[in-house]
Amino acid sequence: MDWPASNLATTCDGGTAMLAGHDGKLIFTSEKRMAITVFELDGIDEVRFSPFCWRTLMALKHKGLDDFGRVPVSFRDRSPIAFSNQDRIPVLVDGDHWVNDSWEIACYLEDAYPDRPTLFGGEMGRAEALFINAWTQQIQNPGLINIILWDAFQAVDPADRDWWREDREKRYGSLEIYQNGKDEKLVSWRQSLEPMRVTLGEQQYLGGETPAYADYIVFGTIQFARCVGQYDVLEPGDPIRDWCERLLDMFDGFARQAPTVTT
């Protein structure tokens, strides 16, 4: 199935914004804003644990672009995003324009909707958020993956599990070995979060008094663990868990209400 992106642009919110031209460049327009759709990875029982998708979802909420559509995509069958000629998820479609890669999506939203709450706080903030993006990558993989890979496997739709196992075992070896030694791995993983913990001792969010994209980057990683039933990778009382609770409360509890694996 090949969905032309332009077919997705059907509803409007009455706002005035920039739209994408057919050549992919942004053009200013006074027309009504087209609908935004996010293609996101789907797991068992609608558990959607992709950390990168969570970054995009929170960024959209931050921008107040609340009426976006969500299209689940299975791990094994990426035909819904065939129009993009690539297989990485999330993909965001805004009118005639599509973007993949959570970082690129955040940059797109910041530039396309400059009048809405900022994700970065200027160019210097964007550059520093990129550093936090890279730091989080290190925390997430191998750090967290090394601890919860088996749990993530349990959250994969059974129909996708053969595909998932084959794909992940190419990179990480046998999934079964990730059932063991979690306690020891947790000690050093929690230690690796220390710079963030100390920062949160000084301020409410990485973005300062209110959350910004840097917060959503790290939140995506914690929400990944939470969705696969492993929220306890953060100990109760850890300032990072308190920070995570604040983010779960944001946007009327948007992230808190998401389905999680019950353990």
């Binding site: 210097m124 903030g125 520093e128 550093f131 963030m196 301020q203 990485l206 973005g207 910004a212």
Partner: protein, 231 residues
Amino acid sequence: MRMVLYELAGRDNFRFSPPCWRTLMALAHKGLAADERVPVKFSDKSPIAFSGQDRIPVLSDGDTWVADSFEIACYLEDAYPDRPSLFGSDRGRAMSRFVNEWTQDLLAPGLVTMLVRDEWDHVHADDRDCFRQVREQRFGDTLENLQAGRDHRVHAFRERLAPLRASLNTQAFLCGESPAYADYIVFGLFQFPRCVSAFPFIERNDPIYAWRETMLDLFDGLGRQVPSYPV
């Protein structure tokens, strides 16, 4: 207003304190310079006794004084808002604090113990006994043993720099197209090895090395033109 910077100084004018370097670079970024730079020794902090605390650097600006390099940067940003910004925005300031903590985490004890014997060679003659005693007590071994094996340990240190490397693969500076306080935070860290040791902490083919070379050239070579090792 008269501005005085109290900074840690070793023998023969060796100045290797990361937080002091952050403040020097922040002042230069703002187009400011201290009217007087007062060297302070580990073993004698009487020059900053007026501040009622013992952390260095301390910046005294007219009737005000500030300790802690991050607080000094915030002070400079707020007191001199019309000069080039160190943070870009409140969001940039908040994220710079994270960079500050990330850098601090690299320093202690990782980088500190890999350099501790070399550092001892560069402290002020009056500080040698005090420095050795305090460090050996804190880390529970002799300076010589603490530093031993760094040829191996440095690999893990370099790996921990991955987020910085990834940033610099995408943009010229941590703060984007031009340097700002987050760059000075990390640069200050690297001035520490460069000013006490000939050990090559950063490999020459590392993008971090090229970035640091650029940082050394800033402000007429402020960071380069000091007693140091060409590593």
